[in-house]
């Protein structure tokens, strides 16, 4: 016998913490935006993102990706801390006790509400030790130079590497294997232990596509 009185004993039944209208609060007078916990948010205009890419290209040339990747890692470190704090406080459960689907929904909504596009996880390579992350409508890709022959979402790759390394407690590495700037419909990122995903970089240089890279990574893994 299910007692509804017991079900509603806890007065709060949580919904979507990252609903954009609830999460992002703005004040016209001060010109500040903050999240629903009162932490400051910053808005990056497209022109600034474009300028970051152009400026880095001018200053450091080919090392642009490395710089952005390291910025992303730093960003991801703090992003993970905040994410865990906010989600476990709102849903009143530590992240480790949340169901996978709830965690994933939170991450998807969080990513979208922060304006980083849409994110999804592909866990079909889980057995082989790889996690594939798919993003699309990325503002970073939109601002980056197009058709350079190399994926351009280094900042996101850094964020993902840092985020999932902390989540899993393993030192993971992230390689982007498809990019919207190269005409792909999605940005694809492969996460796994460094020595296992590292070969993907060389195959990427050879011009191999995501599916081929995944096939080779899994084959190397099985061998």
């Amino acid at each position: 016998m299910i007692s509804v009185a017991d079900l509603v004993k806890d007065p709060i039944i949580p919904g979507n913490y990252y609903a954009a209208d609830a999460y992002v609060q703005g004040d016209f007078e001060t010109g500040l935006i903050e999240n629903r916990k009162g932490a400051r948010l910053i808005a990056l205009p497209d022109i600034l993102l474009q300028a970051i890419y152009a400026g880095l290209d001018q200053e450091v040339g080919q090392a642009c990706g490395v710089v952005l990747f390291n910025c992303g890692r730093w960003w991801g470190k703090n992003f993970y801390r905040r994410f865990v704090e906010e989600v476990s406080e709102y849903y009143r459960r530590p992240l480790a006790e949340m169901e996978m689907v709830e965690f994933l929904q939170c991450l998807k909504e969080c990513w979208k509400t922060h304006g980083w596009g849409t994110i999804d996880l592909d866990v079909s390579f889980y057995q082989q030790g790889f996690l594939v992350v798919k993003t699309w409508d990325s503002p970073f890709a939109a601002a980056a130079p197009k058709n350079t022959g190399q994926p351009q979402c280094a900042a996101e790759a850094g964020i993902l590497e840092s985020f999932f390394s902390q989540l899993t407690g393993r030192n993971l590495h992230c390689v982007q294997t498809a990019c919207e700037t190269l005409g792909a419909t999605n940005n694809l990122f492969v996460l796994g232990l460094r020595e296992r995903v590292e070969p993907a970089k060389a195959w990427l240089q050879e011009g191999q596509d995501h599916d081929t890279i995944m096939e080779r990574l899994c084959r190397t893994q099985a061998a």
């Binding site: 299910i2 509603v8 979507n16 609830a22 689907v101 929904q105 909504e109």
Partner: protein, 161 residues
């Protein structure tokens, strides 16, 4: 603030509102009163609404894991709370953003669509017993819309703000 009332405030910036506008204003105020009393009713009768739904659901699915049933019921309780607020604000998007965008994939992953459909039918029937026709018109379209979203059917009801 209701968008309709805000629009009237802006309109009244330089002159008196016309008779038609006043009529519209009165209509919104009356509608707001009705929404508020429906909201209060739903809030005050939460257990009374859901206990028969819970019993009937359990009777219909005697072999189902009680935890799964409890989970669906808890989600249904949340749905009615968010739908009630969306009704009060006269803003279906509130329900969409604050709950459905999050819940749809959760329901999908749990594969509880069949339970949801039954729960929705039982809840709608229960509300039809307890609410007046006018009150039903305020809340049921939101629940139908939510149901269509949750089980992945094209919406058969359109909800107008």
């Amino acid at each position: 603030m209701h968008t309709e009332l805000m629009n009237l405030y802006y309109k009244a910036e330089e002159n008196y509102l016309s008779n038609v506008d006043i009529k519209v204003f009165r209509h919104h105020i009356e509608s707001l009163q009705q929404r508020l009393s429906t909201y209060e009713f739903l809030r005050d009768h939460e257990i009374e609404i859901f206990q028969p739904v819970a019993d009937a659901l359990q009777k219909k699915y005697p072999t189902e894991n009680p935890q799964t049933l409890e989970q669906v019921l808890r989600q249904a309780i949340a749905l009615l709370r968010y739908a009630a607020m969306a009704m009060l604000l006269n803003n279906p998007e509130f329900l969409q953003h604050r709950l459905l965008e999050w819940l749809t994939e959760v329901v999908n992953a749990h594969q509880t669509q069949t339970l949801w459909s039954s729960c929705h039918e039982l809840l709608s029937a229960r509300l039809q017993e307890m609410l007046t026709a006018a009150e039903q018109d305020l809340i049921l379209p939101l629940l139908d819309h939510a149901q269509a979203t949750l089980v992945g059917l094209p919406a058969v009801v359109s909800v107008h703000a």
